[in-house]
Symmetry: C2
Subunit: 361 residues, 2 copies
């Protein structure tokens, strides 16, 4: 493996000149540039990123912390991040909290641990999805804030899926509130009078945001709302959607629309209704949230809100690299709120068009 020294010798210049040519860090005469480039090519020289990082303090590596890489969201997000990182010549280190298989305290611990692991491994920036709520949240947030805004040596970071601009952290997230409005409004426009909701776990911030959006819409439009009976809770699995739908139907026999907190629960709900031989969308209309891959293949295909997953990853990476390149932590945190789109399929509209293959809008 040939090093910069061999290149310098072969080109008949000093190693500093080779470095300057490679990094364009100083003017070098065209003549020498040519000689260096020739030598580099002939020796098939590649800079050793480790040695390079040693002095320059840049590892050309970013870290990404996901909650569960097997979830419907994260693979797309990773793909988006990856594509930008690739363009920029950065490596992506992935870390997974594996939140769904742990209690929330453990998840908090793991999330923090991963953060510190990435910091210790000298990544140039971090994109993370934080699911932390309740108990340890405030303390953890204070810690994050310090890391992001530390005067000497802040680590560039971007929060995904959650707005943390109040902590001074760049954030790329979804306009949940508005998206929910779209979903519920769609049901209303389809003629639903009694719209129920299958909500996610109360410990999850996004679940609460969505439930709030649902309640607000109903209130604002003077639609019937009984928080006891018309909202059932699940845990984002299809099994829980099944049970929740059962509960809703027992509480409100004449329910005619359900907004589900995610597609998986919606699919569970669909299954229950089909077992009961209830006509969808005739008698009850169902809409989900996320536009997971499954949603288009179930029967009937599920109406939902399409979240721009890949785009979110790309935007987050873009924002991160901007901050890395600026090397400044003095600017205000930027917040990017992504719009989403209503996808109408047969679970709400009998004559919905068939295919919505928007690969990410």
């Amino acid at each position: 493996m040939s090093g910069i020294k061999e290149v310098a010798t072969k080109a008949g210049v000093s190693i500093a000149t080779v470095s300057n040519v490679l990094n364009k860090s100083k003017y070098v005469s065209p003549e020498l540039v040519k000689r260096v480039e020739k030598a580099v090519k002939e020796l098939n020289y590649k800079v050793d990123p480790i040695a390079s990082g040693m002095k320059s303090k840049r590892s050309k590596t970013i870290g990404v912390i996901t909650q569960d890489i097997c979830g419907v969201f994260y693979p797309y997000i990773m793909k988006g991040i990856n594509s930008i990182a690739d363009e920029k010549g950065y490596q992506v280190i992935m870390c997974d909290v594996d939140g769904s298989s742990h209690s929330s305290e453990i998840a908090l611990g793991r999330e923090r641990a991963l953060f510190h692991k990435l910091l210790a491994s000298r990544v140039d920036g971090i994109i993370f999805v934080s699911a932390i709520t309740g108990e340890g949240q405030d303390e953890y947030f204070a810690e994050l804030k310090k890391m992001a805004r530390n005067k000497n040596g802040a680590i560039p970071m971007v929060s995904l899926e959650r707005d943390l601009t109040m902590l001074g952290i760049d954030s790329v997230y979804f306009d949940s509130y508005n998206n929910v409005q779209k979903a519920v409004e769609h049901l209303a426009k389809c003629g639903c009078k009694k719209v129920g909701h299958i909500a996610g776990p109360v410990e999850l911030q996004i679940a609460n945001e969505r439930r709030k959006g649902y309640e607000d819409y109903l209130k604002l439009h003077a639609m019937e709302l009984d928080e006891e009976k018309m909202i059932a809770y699940g845990d984002y699995t299809h099994q829980s959607g099944y049970t929740a739908m059962k509960e809703l139907l027992e509480n409100v026999p004449d329910i005619d629309g359900v907004f589900c907190g995610n597609d998986q629960m919606a699919i569970g709900a669909l299954r229950y209704l089909k077992e009961k031989n209830i006509d969808i969308p005739g008698q009850i209309k169902i809409i989900g949230y996320d536009d997971a891959f499954v949603s288009s293949v179930v029967e009937p295909p599920l109406s939902t809100i399409h979240i721009q997953k890949k785009t979110a990853g790309r935007r987050a990476a873009t924002v991160l690299f901007e901050r890395i390149e600026r090397e400044g932590n003095d600017e205000m945190a930027v917040g990017i709120k992504l719009e989403s789109r209503l996808i109408v399929r047969k679970s709400t509209k009998e004559d919905a068009k068939e295919d919505w293959d928007l690969s990410d809008w």
Copy 2:
């Protein structure tokens, strides 16, 4: 940020001793060990992995090349790899060929490029899924073989999903042939007389393996086989499964069982049959392959072959670390063939039990 020097000073020892304590690379008296550990803790010292890698030539990082991180397989595989890497204190750099959105020549180029990128970034080992066939394959394989078996400085690597032991490359893969036998045998045992097959693209090695397994079973058991009419080809999407099922049914109106090359196509096939009001499993039984998440939520739930995705990732990582730690490239390549399991759901058996939530067997 304090370095090893500060620790040494604080503990009143040389930096060599600190290094020896940290890496357990030499005997150090308990007395000094204690002093060093105390200093490390007080200064909250963390070794700089970059500086460390500089001298030791180990980056404590492995690379993983997937074909499409958004596929049904790879997130689980990544999770498996990650869990082992975590235990071992390694970082995982992920690279995605994004094969499904490119032609196969471009994919070959991308796959090679990623390999070289990882090599250039000095990873300690590589786990990869190669989809390369046809044209450039031989040349590429020769290159891989050279990298894996280079006398001075081989890079430890493991092939996932594909047996490349003949190239001297450790491999973790699935016993496709046998798995297919299980699937077709199940149909036969359920009473199917005319079993068709929806195959994947002929360019894909795994698709051919599965088709061959299907043909062999039928031949061996003297069942009817008309390669023209009873095999239809798709491209692993559910849309293609839909079309292929249509084709099969037109060619062989009295078909009573179909083995599909993957679950997605099976789901497309299900959809077509339901549209035609054909009773499943009464009139036609369908079985897929992969046990993707979707398979359990469609109607009827799909019988399939459960592939141990997470386990595959874990095994691959384990094998890789063994080779990394042995630092030898002289041993024979190890091949690990993973067994799979038949999952019987309602698409083949009316009274199948409901839940098969084996989180990875």
